[in-house]
């Protein structure tokens, strides 16, 4: 055997991403999922471009709780606001909340997973005990309690982050700190299997420090899994926020889809037969979760080390 | 669920009597496969996994099927009992067991012959045994389900079979994960014997085992063959196993048979260039040390097999005709059958040697 130097090929991170995207589009599941996501992203970035500024109780012009008509394609709510307008704006709110919550969740989960998997020993045991605890806990109920407590503690701050009001930021943070457990587990097991691989040992022999190894060797190989996991986490985050808003923790001034659904229920829309009030935001949620689940499992298929051919 | 009552009988060499299935023809050979073709349908095309395989197995014989991975050995075995995955199909040929053609039978009709006439022992027995059921129960299952025995009698018989293969009866209550690799393989053999089949097919039966255990398993198979008048088909890529255990051997390449004959003849006078290369690839402990002789290239893609002889692209003695015309089977004077243009009809069988690699 020749003794070649250990060369970790330095690829630009995005070439890998573009390849992946290409392969993703070839699968029907991935294609449908991506298409839906594209539409939703467009709506999220510039909702006002498509339907005008968000309507409020003051600027509402339509008749109250009326079914779809030529003027109001998706009908109106009990304040006379156009459901089309509200639903499209809700897209931005729901998606941004989902995004930030996912970032927090994956950050915490990945850090804990990598550190735990790489360092091992006592630290690993302790961290995993905590992680398992969070896995068993019904985190939704925990979020239910934490949100009002933290909101009361934070007070009436009117600051906005990424155009999202403080009340919703609290929800985002709460989702982040309660949902990281499954990500941590997955990342940890991937880290463990990478740690066993020879090149990490060689790097150690050269004298590279732990942090360096984690950054330059472990991280690039885990990134794929993190991305796939993030996609599935996004779906979960949107669902969680929707449910939390549905039980009353949403913000009526920045209605996400969950908040719209809560308003629909409060008004008694199902009982009144006002299907246009809850079907549009509902369809939105189903589409987002479906799209992310499809893309997420297509990614999982592609990146699953068992099915990958050895380079 | 009553199986048709076997009527005819066959009397074996040592006087044992074996009951034959109802439709059997007592004068026919035990197993005769003619021009078997099995294809798989993939997204990327049709894989011609087995493309015209013919051979014969006589009562009490041990036949080896050897070849590289992917040459179609396992597919051939699975085709015999129609145990192919959903995307596989026998497209042509006959498989005659006592003269009864199994290839054309429906799934329901096929069931009669599975295990009771032909049983399969898979490789590794790591996952070939159900991990959540006791060994004894798994051996007893075919006795109950296929022979209609009552559970108690079946368990007793299972115990008998365990002892026959050298496992203490008491170990029958163990689960697969509690047994060593060798014992698991013995248990699988016991399971294969449950319905007293005529033929046992061993698919790489010793590959996952260490050499000592390998020897024990082969010895067991020999003993069973003598005691019970079993006929064996051993599928393996390990020629030494075949040399030790089998009477005759088929060498397969890319879905077709290269050479077929008695082990002694084939191993001492290999005719087909592939056979020669295969034998040469095995290090000879007595010869001088030299670098291993390898066969350059790789087996053809069976979705698009090359026209003509499949080995031609890698054959050192390939002639023009080899690339164009599929060689027919020639039976040489000493009984060896070979499919190669070097030995056309009427050839006297003198081996044409492949030049050894100059290192």
């Amino acid at each position: 055997m020749t003794t070649a130097a250990i060369v970790i090929p330095r690829r630009r991170p995005w070439t890998g991403a573009i390849e992946l995207l290409g392969q993703l589009v070839l699968r029907p599941a991935g294609l449908v999922g991506l298409a839906i996501l594209l539409v939703l992203t467009a709506l999220s970035i510039a909702p006002s471009f498509f339907v005008g500024p968000i309507q409020t109780a003051v600027t509402a012009t339509g008749p109250r709780l009326s079914p779809p008509s030529i003027d109001f394609l998706l009908g109106t709510d009990q304040l006379g606001r156009s459901m089309l307008n509200l639903t499209v704006h809700g897209t931005r709110i729901s998606m941004v909340i989902g995004l930030i919550a996912t970032v927090i969740t994956v950050l915490i989960g990945a850090v804990i997973g990598i550190v735990s998997g790489y360092v091992g020993g006592r630290l690993d045991a302790v961290l995993m005990r905590i992680t398992d605890f969070f896995l068993v806990l019904p985190t939704f109920v925990l979020a239910l309690i934490l949100t009002p407590i933290i909101r009361d503690l934070v007070g009436n701050a009117t600051a906005e982050v990424f155009g999202i009001r403080m009340t919703l930021i609290v929800i985002i943070v709460v989702i982040g700190i309660t949902s990281w457990a499954s990500t941590a587990r997955i990342i940890r097991s991937q880290t463990l299997s990478i740690r066993e691989r020879a090149f990490v040992d060689r790097a150690r022999v050269i004298g590279a420090g732990g942090g360096h190894i984690m950054r330059r060797h472990v991280l690039p190989n885990v990134i794929n899994l993190i991305v796939a996991n993030a996609v599935l986490t996004f779906a979960g985050a949107v669902l969680t926020e929707t449910t939390l808003s549905f039980v009353g923790l949403g913000d009526p001034f920045q209605p996400s889809w969950g908040q719209l659904l809560e308003a629909a229920r409060a008004v008694g829309a199902p009982g009144l037969g006002a299907w246009w009030y809850f079907v549009p935001p509902g369809v939105g949620i189903v589409l987002v979760v479906l799209a992310f689940t499809l893309v997420g499992s297509a990614l999982d298929d592609l990146l699953n080390p068992r099915r990958r051919r050895a380079p | 669920m009553t199986q048709p009552e076997p009527a005819a009988v066959a009397i074996l060499e040592d006087g044992q009597v074996r009951k034959l299935p109802r439709l059997a023809d007592p004068t026919a050979p035990l197993l005769e496969v003619e021009n078997l073709k099995t294809h798989f349908t993939l997204e990327s095309g049709m894989v011609h996994a087995v493309d015209g395989v013919s051979f014969r197995l006589d009562q009490g014989e041990a036949l080896g099927i050897a070849g590289e991975s992917g040459c179609g050995k396992t597919t051939t075995a699975l085709s015999l009992v129609q145990l192919l995955p959903p995307n596989g199909r026998i497209v042509e040929g006959t498989v005659r067991l006592y003269g009864i053609d199994l290839a054309g039978k429906s799934e329901n009709a096929m069931r009669r012959y599975r295990w009771r006439e032909i049983a399969i022992v898979f490789q590794g027995a790591m996952n070939a045994l159900n991990p959540v059921r006791r060994i004894r129960d798994q051996i007893a299952e075919p006795i109950v389900e296929r022979l209609g025995a009552d559970p108690k009698a079946a368990r007793r018989r299972a115990g008998d079979l365990l002892e026959l293969v050298g496992i203490p009866r008491a170990r029958g209550s163990a689960y697969p994960h509690e047994l060593s690799g060798g014992m698991r393989q013995r248990a699988m053999i016991a399971m294969a014997l449950a319905c007293d089949p005529a033929i046992i097919i061993g698919d790489e039966p010793t590959t996952a085992l260490d050499v000592m255990v390998q020897a024990q398993i082969l010895e067991l198979l020999e003993r069973l063959r003598a005691q019970l008048g079993l006929s064996l088909i051993l599928i393996t890529h390990d020629l030494s196993v075949i040399a030790e255990t089998c009477d005759r051997v088929l060498i397969m390449y890319a879905g077709r048979i290269a050479e077929d004959g008695r082990v002694a003849d084939l191993f001492s006078k290999p005719r087909h260039p592939y056979t020669q290369k295969l034998l040469a690839a095995f290090p000879n402990i007595h010869a001088d040390r030299r670098t291993l002789d390898t066969i350059p290239g790789s087996p053809p893609d069976l979705r698009n097999p090359p026209p003509g002889c499949r080995f031609a692209p890698r054959c050192a003695l390939a002639m023009d005709i080899c690339r164009v015309e599929v060689p027919g089977a020639t039976i040489l004077p000493d009984g060896v059958r070979v499919e190669c243009h070097l030995y056309p009809a009427g050839s006297d069988g003198t081996p044409i040697l492949v030049p050894a690699d100059v290192t």
Binding site: P138, L142, L144, T243, R265, P270, G271 | P86, V132, E141
Partner: protein, 325 residues
């Protein structure tokens, strides 16, 4: 089955429950306002004596760790979870006790139905993999899986209650109705139960059938299934005797893990149908900032999930001999 195996799992569960109570304790200390004010807020006409006694019982005069925590632990173990803000004078335990029944009924029945139907559907789907049945079944399951339970509920309400008028719109029993006989009561109950039960079951079926399907597909490619078929066993026997027992294993684990997520859905279903269970209690307590009740519900639900996981572990040990050693 190994006593050690059981022992280990039970001990683990006990530690988890302890940790849950700790979390509860921390939450209790996190809340704005002084602890005794929070505990006693719902009680009218509190005397100074009561206040002093309470401080003693709950250890509010003692340092937080370990004394106060131990006292809190003791109080929780005996069922003393404080007093509800909203239901003046009633203990949290009493309030929760009134609402457990309906939730058990709805959720328990829903789980049983979903497990039976979902697993069967998933198994059949996996067995017939690649056929039309599989694609249709999988598609429906996927959509069901992506739909929040309360949305399903609202849709069902719209169609079957408002539209077709087959079922009532809310509640567990018709308000103010006098029943001629227990059978009458049962009928009314069943009537009200149908839609919420359908909602919970549909949501769960989607999940379970997807789980079971992928488990069966993987199992069917194992060598022992090929051996079973090679033995000439009937298809049904191969499925039930060999494939299913092995396919059930990961499914059992996953069902248990999913329990936490399912609770969120169950709460919202109760809200949609105004079903008088723990879910609606939690939301009412949330709106009224009735923290003691909220915490009590959290405690109860969390411990239930831990116990359910323990049960799943036991069942798994029963099914898979490999973990018993």
């Amino acid at each position: 089955m190994g006593g050690r195996f059981l022992g280990r799992k039970a001990a683990s569960a006990a530690i988890t429950i302890l940790a849950i109570i700790l979390v509860n304790f921390l939450l209790f200390r996190l809340m704005p306002g002084s602890p005794e004010r929070i505990i006693l807020r719902g009680v009218p006409n509190v005397t100074e004596q009561q206040r002093v006694a309470l401080r003693e019982r709950w250890g509010l005069n003692d340092p937080i760790f370990p004394d106060q925590f131990v006292k809190y632990l003791g109080a929780t173990a005996t069922g003393d979870l404080g007093y509800s803000f909203v239901a003046r004078g009633q203990t949290v335990a009493a309030v929760i006790g009134q609402r457990i029944g309906p939730t058990l009924l709805l959720f328990g029945l829903g789980e049983i139905l979903a497990i039976l139907i979902g697993l069967a559907l998933g198994a059949y789907s996996g067995w017939k993999r690649g056929t039309a049945v599989d694609y249709v079944g999988n598609g429906i399951s996927l959509v069901l899986y992506s739909t929040p339970y309360f949305l399903l509920g609202m849709a069902l309400l719209l169609v079957f209650s408002t539209g077709l008028r087959w079922f009532p719109t809310f509640g567990m029993l018709t308000a103010g109705r006098i029943y001629a006989s227990p059978l009458d009561l049962l009928a009314d109950l069943a009537f009200h139960l149908t839609l919420p039960l359908l909602t919970v079951s549909l949501g769960l079926v989607g999940q379970y059938s997807i789980l079971m399907r992928s488990s069966i597909v993987e199992t069917l490619s194992e060598d022992y299934v090929t051996t079973a078929r090679a033995m000439g066993l009937q298809d049904g026997r191969v499925l039930t005797g060999h494939a299913l027992p092995n396919a059930l294993l990961p499914t059992v684990s996953l069902v248990a893990i999913n329990l936490g997520y399912v609770i969120a859905g169950a709460i919202t279903v109760e809200v949609v149908f105004n079903w008088p269970g723990l879910g609606t209690l939690a939301v009412e307590a949330l709106t009224a900032r009735d923290y003691p009740v909220l915490q009590g519900v959290f405690l109860l639900l969390s411990i239930s999930v831990v116990l359910a996981n323990l049960l799943a572990d036991v069942v798994y040990g029963f099914l898979d001999p490999r973990v018993r050693t």
